[in-house]
Amino acid sequence: MMSLKAFLIVASLLFGIGMAGIVINRRNVIALLMSIELILLAVNTNFIAFSYFMNDIAGQIFVFFILAIAAAEAAIGLAILMVLYRSRGTINVAAMDTLKG
């Protein structure tokens, strides 16, 4: 039951849910950041599962670095969000069209 395949299936479902979150909540920046956290969690679970079943500690080292970088990313993303809200009064992605892109 608790095999490598089972963990990979759970992680791939979690990854799919995170991707769906990006598609469904396209307007809300906070929801987008949370979907990215879900995707990172799926990838980290994959790394740890491979590390356990292949008896190699390198996978866990990788997860350690990913966690550090993800924390930095969340901090900067939320700071940008605060600045955006202060200058625009909204966090709607559809309202960010100043560059006419």
Binding site: M19, I30, T45
Partner: protein, 193 residues
Amino acid sequence: MIVNLLFVGFSALLLFSALMVVTLSHPVRSVLFLVLAFFAATVLWLLLTAEFLALILILVYVGAVMTLFLFVVMTLNIDLVSLQQPYKKLYIPVGLLFTALLSGILIYALFKTESPFIMYAQNVNTISLANVTQLGQVLYTEYALPFEITGVILLAAIIAAISLSLFQPTTSKQQSASEQINVKKEDRLRIIK
């Protein structure tokens, strides 16, 4: 036996709370379900004997990053109505289709694979050291340079976050302490004889 039960139960909890994070429209509830998802993932990581990373996930992620998320969500006075998708009914089937396709392809490939790494992977725990000892032995020798670079990246993130939120045109009224201290009697008081 009990390990299998734990695995199935907490995997189901993880997927359920992830689904709630994505579908709920209120951001505070989404953040709280994300915390629940992290706790469920922690149990899965503990089953894989990655104790150090599991505890780091709770301490750093739930303790710091999720608190930051909650703080930002509660600080911003978000207009929830404008964030509702006008055509959300269209996006949900598209999102589900994406999920089904992506996860379906991944799981299909997993069952069709003939890779010996995945077919015959077994944990043969030959090392009797604790997880933290094992990690520490390679982290400070083989991976010393990446470890230091991570520290520099975190420093850059601190500087970026502070400078982003510090130098802002203020829209609210606030005190100017230096002007208050430097005020003279003549500025405020006019003596009429």
